[in-house]
Symmetry: D2
Subunit: 146 residues, 4 copies
Amino acid sequence: MAGVNKVILVGNLGADPEVRNLEGGNKVATLSIATSENYTDRDGNRQTQTEWHRVNLWNGLAGVAEQYLKKGSKVYIEGRLTTRSYEKDGVTRYSTDITARDMVMLDSRQDGQGAPYEAAPPQGATVSETPQAVGASEVSNDDPPF
Amino acid sequence: MAGVNKVILVGNLGADPEVRNLEGGNKVATLSIATSENYTDRDGNRQTQTEWHRVNLWNGLAGVAEQYLKKGSKVYIEGRLTTRSYEKDGVTRYSTDITARDMVMLDSRQDGQGAPYEAAPPQGATVSETPQAVGASEVSNDDPPF
Amino acid sequence: MAGVNKVILVGNLGADPEVRNLEGGNKVATLSIATSENYTDRDGNRQTQTEWHRVNLWNGLAGVAEQYLKKGSKVYIEGRLTTRSYEKDGVTRYSTDITARDMVMLDSRQDGQGAPYEAAPPQGATVSETPQAVGASEVSNDDPPF
Amino acid sequence: MAGVNKVILVGNLGADPEVRNLEGGNKVATLSIATSENYTDRDGNRQTQTEWHRVNLWNGLAGVAEQYLKKGSKVYIEGRLTTRSYEKDGVTRYSTDITARDMVMLDSRQDGQGAPYEAAPPQGATVSETPQAVGASEVSNDDPPF
DNA sequence: TTTT
DNA sequence: TTTT
């Protein structure tokens, strides 16, 4: 029954995050992320192909995105595919998004012009929806690593 | 500019593969794959959430899918997300698919009723769009491992 | 500073799990997993290359491994690389293991000879070290999906 | 038989790449990459845990590493685990490395002091051991995407 | 040491 | 539409 549904992206935000505070007290941030691949076409010319992805982050991750990400930011995202259906103009339509489970910010702090992030975390800070206490890597101690 | 666009799925086919032979000589197989996750809801009841994924396989991979996969087959898929737009009834609509890069068949041969596959490859046979010659794992020899 | 350290395996157990109950109350199961790749060498002969991996599972995952896995079982493992050093005969030696974060069992129930698992979970049951409540896939409700 | 053996890293080089040109004409570059995770220990203190990984890149990838990477560079690596054994002082020892299949450079060009890269590719350029021609994302054309 |  |  169970399976694996995993997406891994490294790309840049095409716009600032859109953040919504929902009635039930949850927060969701939506990112539009471009992943580009370079390749050489059959005529030998270099081409770039870009895909755009809608990524939803919830609560803790949404707060970090709201605070630290902006248009142009580079991020690593791990999540899962979720397709939802909705009615529009009497037609059923589908939208496929990525729900993030982990995010790593990949921009250098020092690359900013000015001081865009007041309380910026260290470059590359990892944020998980479900924070994990990571113990020592020794198998022989009595401490689980997750 | 370049980035990462990766999808990893383990799930079951909801139907037999749909195979099309294109005019240019290419072959494409489309799979409908379900990935299911079990969880306990806030009332303590076990629930299953299923996502459905459209996966396109090309040429070599398509041929293997056509020959060996059927409704119910369990597979591992690695690929990338591709969103295309199309017009329907004068409205632009979007469809997000997965283009497969690698596939591993996860069914045992012996689970079949009868002998569905005349020339079945070993269970779990890996098929790549771009077959790789894998050398010895010794770093010290003069042989690259890919 | 933060980064990504991820391992994904699909392979078979070379032996039954080794389970230890530690003094602090933790349980650890160690799996020896083979991943095999087929390729054609430069002389055109089919070859198989097998890598062996040591995988450690903790507590909840260890219990599931102890109960349901055995020599020959096929599993999907997601985890991270952990290298530890130890002294042996006055020499510092290193061992690189994988610490599992998720496991999916890939064997069919019906492939058993007899009834090896009294209370076997559904085929492909996913077990996580940190169980996740997964909500609906609707973005528009007020329910976070993780 | 076949399986999956995949490693994904995002981390920084602890030293400049070590490059060797082998007798058979192959080139190999070895990277030492740190992946760090932040967590809160049971006393509520923030801790960082760092793992170090040995990554081997061959030929084309090795050339790119040699030319563009240096101590401190941030990279995304995808590859597979390879364990080799060797004799030292009459004892069999094991070493587990990662053989890279893809690399994405994650540093901004503009972060350099001076002009370290004469012919630097765009930031985040992806390099694969086996370059892939990536076609259009339209399923309906006759062009395979890999 | 697995699997086919 | 799958799987258990």
